[in-house]
């Protein structure tokens, strides 16, 4: 067989073809660093990183949900619900750990309900998660009486506001989460099964994968991570807020899709998702640094998104 066309895995072209969105990100980053004042400063980098903490943490598991061919719209409410939950429990018991635990568990419960309804009852993921989105937004409001629940234990604020080696703790958390979920995706049976299910559910089932169990696990993880993100947010804001994170779900999904995750399932890479999250954050950041008026920000943000996905697409034509 003629093998002359086979590209070396190490060539630059191979890299661009497979990781074009990373290349686009790097180019964007360099351009912004050069042309946008204050962009490439330590403070701004930290601010940028902090601005993507919530979306980044959740993107980890959203990648799995999308990778398995499903959809999760409930994350925004989960963030609010678990933040309120944590705040209420901390105030009631005075125990910070119990509060953190309750917030995360609260998220996990949303996830289990989603996973069970989708996997076992076979209900449409979009509708199910839209329904739980409403239900748990409502629960957050009910639990808090519609008001931000101020937290009295100052110890809790450490989670979101302390520094480790000069870098805010939430940034460490997001880095660690990227590593863990990257390994989970690439180096475990669970990750591979997720993509197999997304690629061809029937074939995956026949190949002996426990599809239902995998899906429930994915959604439960998703709930837990959204819950965790909610707890961190509550800690950073020193209160649990029932109306936090509205519309977050589309930001997270967009970041994933921008990072090459297929909405039809079966395709997902951690590097892509990280870059997707960063691009979304970078655009907002640079627009504010440039003092672009609010209304024009919408237009520019949309246009940049279009251009990024177009450039990403171009590479496939060059094959």
């Amino acid at each position: 067989m003629d093998n002359s066309g086979v590209k070396s895995k190490l060539s630059l072209k191979y890299f661009y073809d497979n990781y074009s969105i990373i290349v686009i990100f790097v180019v964007m980053f360099i351009l912004l660093s050069i042309f946008v004042p204050y962009f490439f400063t330590w403070r701004n980098m930290v601010g940028l990183a902090l601005s993507v903490v919530t979306i980044g943490i959740i993107a980890n598991t959203m990648m799995f949900a999308l990778g398995s061919g499903d959809f999760d719209l409930s994350v925004s409410s989960t963030v609010a619900f678990s933040g309120v939950m944590a705040a209420v429990i901390i105030n009631a018991t005075g125990n910070v750990w119990l509060g953190i635990f309750a917030g995360i568990i609260g998220g996990g419960i949303v996830g289990i309900i989603n996973g069970f309804s989708i996997a076992k009852l076979g209900l449409n993921a979009l509708i199910v998660t839209l329904a739980t989105q409403m239900i748990f937004r409502g629960m957050a409001f009910i639990l808090s009486g519609g008001r931000a629940v101020g937290i009295r234990e100052a110890g809790f604020f450490k989670l979101g506001n302390s520094m480790i080696f000069g870098i805010p703790t939430p940034i460490w958390i997001i880095i660690i989460s990227f590593i863990i979920f990257g390994i989970l995706l690439n180096n475990t049976v669970f990750g591979k099964n997720t993509l197999a299910i997304g690629g061809n559910t029937k074939a995956a089932r026949l190949a002996g994968i426990n599809v239902d169990f995998t899906k429930i696990t994915i959604f439960t993880l998703q709930g837990i991570m959204a819950g965790f993100a909610g707890v961190i947010l509550a800690s950073r804001m020193t209160s649990g807020q029932p109306n936090a994170a509205q519309g977050l779900e589309l930001d997270v999904i967009s970041a994933c899709v921008l990072g090459g995750v297929s909405l039809n399932g079966g395709i997902a890479t951690m590097s892509g998702v990280i870059v997707g999250v960063l691009i979304m954050g970078m655009i907002s950041n640079a627009l504010n640094l440039l003092n672009v008026p609010t209304f024009y920000q919408y237009v520019v943000r949309g246009a940049v998104l279009l251009i990024a996905i177009y450039l990403d697409k171009l590479k496939q034509r060059n094959l």
Binding site: F141, R147, G150, T238, A245, N288, F295
Partner: protein, 299 residues
């Protein structure tokens, strides 16, 4: 017949409107009428809510409209359905850009609240003996909502009028009107002006100021370097005042949800039941809520 009064609000999840509702219901209990609470987040929902009220036999309603320009449409619909109505908080504006004088209203103008914020910021800076030239002004804007924009404009206008340098005014547009949105927007501004070591903050509500306070704290700015003044006197604000150590969140302009909720409902009831027409406009005042007085002002 039984009296039923609708109470429509633009942001049903907001504590402010929850309070208005609660006080309206209190009036309902006192006078023996039923309050029908409907959240109407956009114009289309307002119109269906009016239809809905008419369908269940309500005689009138009180509304905080999601957009003041909806005035003529709301009036037309209400007249068609034969419902009495009055506006609260936000005053209707006609197609001629003028307030609709013919509609009964109770409220405080968004712009005036903003002015109170600005006035307090000036006083507080003077008290601390700050030199205006060394102070940065974080103007947390959210121009997607006109009433929020009016509030921040009010604060800014007073500041500039009192000699605060325009050059130190740093507009920070928020992507979302919540604490995180404020946090992210403020962070960027602070980054851009890392030489400033004293900050004042104004925003459209409490959460848009608190996010900025958190961002400043994250960069090491303590309560002696920050003056933030919110609007609403909501739980957000109270949480801040309840903390052991003072934070940069100095005060909040407390509006009287009790007055807006209870009295409008009362006026509407009397109008329906006794034919007593309410005054065309009633202006209420905002009070400044801070660490010293918040416990008395809490509802």
């Amino acid at each position: 017949a039984d009296v039923k009064i609708g109470f429509l609000v633009k942001q049903p999840e907001e504590a402010w409107f929850q309070d208005e509702w609660r006080y309206a219901e209190e009036a309902g209990e006192d006078y023996g009428f039923e309050v029908i609470k409907i959240g109407t987040t956009d114009g289309e929902k307002v119109l269906s809510a009016i239809d809905n009220l008419a369908a269940q036999g309500a005689q009138g309603f009180i509304i905080c409209t999601p957009d003041v320009k909806l005035g003529p449409a709301i009036k037309a619909r209400a007249d068609m359905q034969g419902l009495k109505f009055m506006s609260v908080d936000d005053r209707f504006v006609g197609s001629d850009e003028q307030p609709m004088e013919e509609v009964h209203h109770m409220g405080i103008s968004a712009y005036n609240i903003g002015k109170l914020v600005g006035k307090t910021l000036v006083e507080q800076m003077n008290e601390m003996g700050w030199d205006y030239d060394e102070v940065g002004y974080l103007e947390m804007t959210y121009n997607q909502l006109p009433t929020i924009a009016e509030r921040t404009n009010g604060a800014t206008d007073v500041l500039l009028e009192k000699g605060f340098p325009e050059a130190n005014r740093y507009e920070s547009p928020m992507k979302t009107l919540d604490t995180e949105g404020s946090f992210n927007a403020a962070n960027i501004t602070i980054t851009k002006h890392s030489d400033v070591d004293k900050w004042i903050i104004a925003g459209g509500n409490d959460s848009s100021v608190i996010g900025a306070v958190r961002a400043l704290e994250g960069q090491g700015f303590g309560a002696d370097q920050v003056i933030g003044i919110g609007i609403n006197g909501s739980n957000f604000a109270i949480n801040e005042f309840e903390k052991n150590e003072p934070t940069g969140f100095y005060a909040s302009v407390k509006l009287s949800a009790r007055q807006h909720g209870y009295e409008t409902a009362e006026l509407m009831y009397k109008w329906i039941a006794e034919g007593e027409e309410p005054p065309k406009v009633t202006w209420t005042a905002g009070t400044l809520m801070h660490r010293g007085n918040y416990e008395e002002l809490m509802d």
